[in-house]
Symmetry: D2
Subunit: 373 residues, 4 copies
């Protein structure tokens, strides 16, 4: 293990729901076992989910270091033979990112159903990995981050900026997973409900996969402008067009009068679902991508599913191979889909509360915490 | 055209919603053009949909001769070269059945999307084919039935009783269509919600396709007994087990603790959908097969779709190739799935009102009208 | 019917295999029945298949007016209510194209299997529609072209040049059909074997569908240059790299050492298939798109299919909905995929023999016959 | 580790290709590490592949203890917390079976492509696990069998005889895998080429999945008789019908004149493939299941793939989840598919040479080695 590491480091810790995040000191591990990695955190993206966690909407264990969209530099390796998920040897100083979820690999979902995103024993850094006990450093909002040997780590190529990775965040891998399940065909018309990070990622994947046209319904205006830069053929501003019937009319005019082949929900607003079903043509597909969080029930008519012969698909989180796809995509299509532009706000470790407020109020593109300044 | 045909015949006609059905006389067509067929009706099944039509829940045009599950004998042919849908030459006296829906073959759904079940100009005998104008005889509840040249007619094989065809009714072709969209794999566990005609048909298809186990939730008891005869591995009586949590527990016990690979909704009760989603394992599929009619909205949580990574599929009506599958299946698997047993009640043309009451009160297996006695 | 039509017109007619094509006069139809259309031919593309037909490699009936990639102007309509396949009303003077194949709509392939490209009674203009009997004018290499009512006609939009349509020819709809069957996912690596019209069309569809990388193996150099303009990430010149082992090495270097996710055969050379299987990664897909003609058997090892867990897909011709996709694609992506550039050589009706020689010797991009000068 | 274990045990060892198998003594391991298991072998099935291995047709390392279809009793466990692949705790004395292949879990096939059957570093007991070095006991033809911790072990339920498991052997899991890739639909017609173990397993899966009809082409007569007991609707004896054209005629007569929806190759004879393609209807699927071994190339015409729009699928070996499916199927459908009947010949450890001869000469159903008597 490298000599120059400090004995302890600062972390932004959630000790109670709805209360201010506190900066605390935690010990670095004395020693690393084979496969374990210690990172010096570079960028820690703030996901909308963190706002929900802070409100206590998911029962996560406390105290918690949040942050699940992270890049860092390898500060120490437990094992000189450590490799990243794709087999690349890792060295101290390498810049890496990693998947947040760690499935057990042993339950019936992991094994029989090959559905590790629904592992019965899934651990997720920054979500259900409390900081109380060693190794403490299990979230992005800290100067150092500990990684267990079963973490899928990815060495970042030199021509891929960390801002691209954190700008895309967990939104992009979520979209990659969702579109894998959707099996969109090139030339299909796609409506994306929502212009936030998940909506933008869904738009990018849809365009890259040959959507024609790709339509975004959302707001506010600057987000829709970014959608246009990412290739949206049509954007519908919900402030300018608050009437769902008018939005339906606009979508139908762009889709031979029938509705879109595919509609992708990216807003986590239950009431968007009924509108989304109407926006689909008969025989179309509806991907529920934005309801990672539980925003409660809504009124829906099952008859619509039967009558319109819809296919409705849910997709939850992501798996490491979706990271492989996402990282390649980010690197090779930076010009067309400049995800680094999303990083609009940077905060220090002591400013996590301000960052949470800014994200909650939709004031940011993507807010990023820089734990080491 | 054959000489012995009468000039007119009796039909049971719905002249107003919720009012008694009347028996009226209608003229037989003077002459048939090429491809047109006149049937002497043999059996006319009464579908649960007819009860809904009679209540005025769908805006169908009046006066209407209902009946869309029909067998009959060819009384006259407009053309001596007429063939059935599979190319078999047709002769006067042949026993046939036919698909109810007639898509236009020209709209974007018929052509571009190959989705004729959602044809924009679809006509359905006994549903949206009013009797006011010639050729009048456009529903099963009449002594004679007129068929347009674009009707998919099927000559019935001698070893397939008409009771099997009408007993299976539109439920079986609906299930065939639904399972085609579902793409079930052999060995998957299947829960069927509902023990009525659609549920029984879904059970038969699931068993034939290798479901293991096949579970039916429904009632009343005699319907569940029939499900057992059709091969259900487990039946759950909703009267004996009114608590959904207990039903979920029973299903999970039969499916490795996780829920079923596939759940098929066959009850047209919106509240069954939320229960059905819970009965699925994560990554499972939910087929909404029973909501042909609009039974209104219900409270549903989109988060469940995302979190459980469900695939939810709607399927509407059927197409002629589903008839091909269904008729072969009925004939070759009569011993395992004796659909003719469903025909429990027979009524004359003047007893349609009694029949509607019996069906509405779930007193029948399958009620059948015999317009010619 | 319009008054100004001549009584007869000139056509280039194949009267015997391997013999010079002759220019003959044929009568125009006296009258058109409802749905029938008479076109004044504008452009008639020469497909490589025509060379094979002329060599007698397919047993087509003679005399034959070849030409199955045609645009023309409506000269006369049998019916004032005639519409194109998508429902647009047609008028004299409209510029149109049309599908070559006319399935019967009644056989088991058309009906039960929904596979009209394999109709048992399929007719194809310019291929199996001899000119001996009226209406004679059943191929593109004539001044006028007769269309039966069951032809799928497409009115061409004003912003889509006929050169684009004929430049893309039947190659593009063939590729659209093939990729529909292939169900490629965005981000997959694709190798196209062949740089001719089918290869170029496959490349365009692959790129549009998000192939990464898209690699073309073929020649000669100017065709590969065109492939680069159409977006090929890598081209491998078979003259420069005649050793298949080296080509395999180049492909593997571009695909993580394993081979491509998808390989598309577009050369109609049987020996390309064994190489193509090697170019696939294990678990990859191989689309046999270029073997419309029968070029005979070759030596292949079935063990490779098992060991590599390949999926090998054949696709034959096209259906009208593939035209819908292709025409929209041509119009909306003209800048990225300038198919009109393929039209490099133009010939008059008396020069069909020269055109056949030029195409047989690979001297042309796309050769086009202008029957009316 | 249990006290009563001997220090060494007897094994049948292949020391050179085409030479007699020798019985040798090998040391049992002194100690087991966590997760390691030592079995006392009960039954070791002889697969046709073993005959090929003995002939030297695959370059496997020597000396080798063959045998990759094995049941045994746990003699010692390295770890008291050892569980089987589905999480069931394991105890000394438990009867188990296990998958032969051990993928590395780390290569691009294991990770990115989720294709562990094509792992770049796959180890297979009895195939590429030489006996020269400790732990020596890595094949079924020995009194004891060593299992590494990454082996997928399955505790056998009490109501599932070992003869069923070994009778089904690797043929059944191979068929389970193949049909998973095939995605057969219920009601499809299926032709199985071959009546040996793989053919019988494919027949069983096809019938269970609702094949109608299920046809087997093969021999000799007693194998076809067993196919009939397993539910074959039609068997075609290649000795009685040696002319492929007549076999094609028989298949077409049973499939509406067009050929089968699905044909499954289970004979490892390359020349069967060309016949198999002809037996498919246009648009049908062909599963190459029997070419695990390399039997060399054959003459095939790629045009047939295009013209018939075939889908040709390869499937190699199996994965642990296919074992889960197979074991459940064996247990629950023993009456319909009595795989234990296949075990017709039993041999001691010193009779392996006789067994190889018997299997090579097709004299057996399934030959089984009983290493402990």
């Amino acid at each position: 293990m490298a000599n120059q590491l400090p004995g302890a480091c600062s972390c932004a810790v959630m000790t109670a729901f709805k209360q201010p995040i506190e900066v605390r000191e935690y010990q670095l591990p004395d020693d690393l076992r084979p496969g374990e990695i210690l990172l010096r955190t570079e960028l820690a993206g703030m996901c909308g989910t963190d706002v929900h966690l802070h409100k206590g909407e998911l029962k996560v264990p406390l105290p918690l270091i949040m942050g699940h969209e992270t890049t860092g530099f390898i500060a120490a390796l437990g094992d000189s033979n450590t490799r990243d998920w794709l087999g690349t040897p890792l060295r101290v100083g390498d810049r890496v990112s990693f998947t947040v979820g760690r499935p057990c690999g042993k339950c019936r979902y992991c094994r029989v159903h090959r559905l590790p995103s629904r592992c019965l024993n899934r651990k997720a850094y920054g979500v259900n990995t409390p900081a109380g006990d060693a190794p403490h450093l299990l979230g992005g909002y800290g100067q150092y981050h500990f990684l267990y040997p079963d973490t899928a780590v990815f060495k970042l190529p030199d021509d891929l900026p960390s801002e691209s990775v954190v700008g895309a965040g967990c939104a992009l891998v979520t979209a990659v997973h969702g579109f894998e399940r959707l099996r969109m065909q090139w030339g299909q018309s796609v409506v994306v409900q929502g212009a936030g990070p998940v909506g933008l990622a869904a738009l990018a994947v849809a365009k890259e996969a040959g959507a024609r046209p790709a339509i975004v319904i959302g707001g506010p205006r600057d987000r829709l402008e970014r959608c246009k830069r990412f290739g949206a053929d049509l954007t519908i501003d919900i402030e300018e067009t608050p009437d769902p019937a008018k939005r339906l009319k606009l979508v139908r005019e762009a889709t031979y009068g029938l509705g879109a082949d595919i509609v992708v929900e990216c807003v986590c607003m239950p009431q968007a679902v009924a509108e989304g079903w109407e926006l689909c043509r008969d025989g179309g597909s509806y991907l529920v991508l934005g309801h990672y969080g539980d925003a409660g029930p809504t009124s829906l008519n099952p008859h619509v599913i039967t009558r319109k012969e819809l296919t409705i698909i849910g997709s939850y989180g992501s798996e490491p191979q979706h990271w492989t796809v996402a990282l390649e995509f980010l690197r090779e299509r930076r010009k067309e889909y400049p995800f680094e532009e999303l990083v609009t706000h940077r905060f220090g470790l002591s400013q996590v509360n301000e960052a949470l407020t800014a994200v909650a109020n939709w004031q940011t593109g993507k807010a990023v915490i820089l734990p080491n300044g």
